[in-house]
């Protein structure tokens, strides 16, 4: 790792610079060196543009037969669980490695600063209380001093209370995925509505939707209480692959199967709709949009949607709807209305 930091700058061409800037280890010194290199010669800037273009265009290859064949071989050699395991061995990354590229670029630098901030706080040995929010369409990873991760989905607000004896997250709105480091002395609590989900070392998703909350467990086991601190309140153990919902009044639903695909997909900045009614799909997709898409003709609401869509690529989503459902999207300013053609 050390030798990587000392990578000699002088021998790098455009590809080398571009590769280095994607290493996630860019600080101001590297940034300044890159900037100098870019202005040294016009050929440098042009070569860098070519590399950017090659990189961007390569993403358009997905779905082509030759690339798909190579990717099949790749997945056979390195199956998804092996990749996930490798990701989990890397401190500070975990399974959140699959964040979309643009967010990753912005996120990594911010994350580095964030870690420094939190660690400093921790060294002062005080209880720190910090709020984190995401805007509509944004996702963000928070790393706690113990290397637990919180991935915030769109339009989410959490308050993190952290000390030597306490790990508490208040999910005030939205949805978050928690990857918790084991620490028996210090359980990890997620408060949402009046309920609390308690974990020791595990990975789980909590979503607040109006007056109900949904907890889904991807790894390990958590305890869910509908009414935190109420000894007579309902509680249940939820284990991997399972989910439970609770109301603001503290009533728990039966334990049911977790929709792990949905959660892994949002983690990868995608949504997956399998035979989903258009109305439900829009309700979900609109969580990521400032200007919501609405159904103009009630008869469209029951049409079914199938597909994998990249969060943030609204144009592609609308285009797919127009093509697939034979509808027309009309922007009114405050919303986008789907009408029959």
């Amino acid at each position: 790792m050390k030798s990587f930091l000392r990578w000699r700058i002088s021998e790098q061409g455009a590809g080398g610079w571009f590769a280095r800037l994607r290493s996630g280890r860019v600080d101001e010194r590297v940034d300044a060196a890159w900037s100098r290199w870019m202005t040294e010669a016009d050929t440098h800037a042009k070569a860098f543009e070519n590399t950017e273009l090659a990189w961007e265009l390569s993403s358009d290859l997905e779905g082509r037969p030759k690339i798909e064949a190579l990717l099949r071989d790749l997945d056979a050699q390195f199956p998804a669980d092996a990749r996930r395991a490798a990701a989990q061995l890397i401190p500070g990354r975990g399974p959140f490695a699959v964040l979309a590229q643009s967010w990753r670029l912005a996120g990594l630098a911010a994350l580095a600063l964030l870690c420094v901030g939190i660690v400093t706080f921790f060294m002062l040995n005080r209880t720190s209380v910090t709020d984190y929010t995401t805007e509509i369409g944004e996702q963000r990873t928070i790393t706690l001093p113990d290397d637990s991760h919180v991935l915030l989905n769109t339009a989410t607000h959490v308050r993190v209370t952290y000390s030597r004896s306490l790990r508490r997250i208040d999910l005030l709105s939205g949805e978050a995925l928690f990857q918790v480091q084991k620490d028996a002395r210090r359980p990890f609590e997620v408060h949402a509505l009046n309920g609390v989900t308690t974990a020791v070392g595990t990975e789980f998703d909590v979503q607040v939707n109006g007056a109900s909350a949904a907890v889904a467990v991807l790894v390990g086991t958590v305890k869910v209480e509908g009414s935190a601190g109420d000894p007579k309140g309902q509680s249940v153990q939820v284990t991997l692959g399972q989910a439970v919902d609770y109301s603001a009044a503290g009533d728990l639903s039966a334990v049911h199967a977790a929709d792990a695909n949905r959660i892994r997909a949002w983690q990868a900045h995608r949504v997956v709709y399998t035979d989903m009614a258009l109305a439900s799909a829009l309700q979900d997709y609109n969580r990521y949009l400032r200007v919501p898409i609405v159904v103009g003709d009630p008869s469209l609401a029951a049409r079914h949607v199938n597909g994998v869509f990249r969060i943030g690529d609204q144009t592609a989503f609308i285009h797919a709807l127009e093509e697939g459902l034979h509808v027309k999207a009309v922007a009114t300013g405050s919303e986008i209305v789907l009408q029959k053609q």
Binding site: M1, G13, A14, G15, A19, R20, L21, R22, S23, G24, V26, V30, D31, A47, N50, T51, E52, L53, A54, W55, L57, S59, D60, L61, G63, K66, I67, L70, L74, F78, R83, A86, A87, L89, I90, R93, A97, Q101, S102, R104, L105, A106, A110, L114, G117, T133, E135, A155, A268, R303, N306, V308, F309, D313, T315, A316, H319, L321, G324, H326
Partner: protein, 199 residues
């Protein structure tokens, strides 16, 4: 869309609904405003961006997309204050705008299509007309990837299509992080020479 608007001229700024207050530890240290930072950045890379977009869309469309990119960047409040990262965001945004532009062009042209009750269009399955550049160049990039040395190709594919970071790839392939970065550099050099030769 407006024809021209020099960076820093505020009269036509698009407004977005106010975002929730975000407390980022680094926000306080911002010496210059977001607008000033974006404007400086944009002024510096404008010519490069224009040149880049002209390879993807018609020149007058490129000029329009350059402006649109500037607005997008203005709206993106948490732009990282590292120039290389900000530039990457700038060019990535511009490329996506060019993609959208292509798609819109396609929608305008396609009046007749088959009515399907269900929708089966995943992002991966785009028709040739929706491609950002011609079939020929894509085929050449694809071939260049296939022709990369095996390890180099694996590194590139894992990073590009499976979203693994260098340290993750290093663990997976039992390589050093440094040599993963070297292989990425090699792959990118090859692909960019294809782009340079044909586009």
């Amino acid at each position: 869309m407006m024809d021209q608007l020099p960076p820093g001229t505020p009269q036509n700024e698009r407004t977005e609904p106010d975002a929730a207050p975000v407390q980022t530890p680094d926000a306080a240290s911002a010496a210059i405003s977001h607008r000033e930072y974006v404007t400086q950045l944009f002024t510096k890379y404008r010519a490069s961006l224009q040149r880049y977009l002209t390879r993807l869309v018609r020149p007058d469309d490129a000029a329009e997309l350059v402006q649109e990119t500037y607005f997008r960047l203005l709206r993106h409040e948490n732009t990282v204050r590292l120039e290389a990262m900000a530039r990457a965001f700038l060019f990535h945004t511009a490329t996506n705008l060019a993609r959208d532009h292509r798609r819109r062009g396609l929608v305008r042209r396609s009046d007749q299509h088959v009515a399907l009750d269900d929708l089966e269009i995943a992002q991966e399955h785009q028709g040739p007309e929706q491609q950002l550049v011609g079939e020929q160049i894509l085929a050449q990039i694809e071939r260049a990837i296939a022709d990369l040395p095996a390890d180099t190709r694996t590194v590139f594919l894992l990073h590009r299509f499976r979203d693994l970071s260098y340290p993750e790839i290093a663990k997976l392939m039992n390589l050093s992080t440094r040599s993963v970065a070297r292989k990425m550099a090699d792959a990118l050099e090859r692909l960019s020479s294809v782009v340079e030769a044909t586009l």
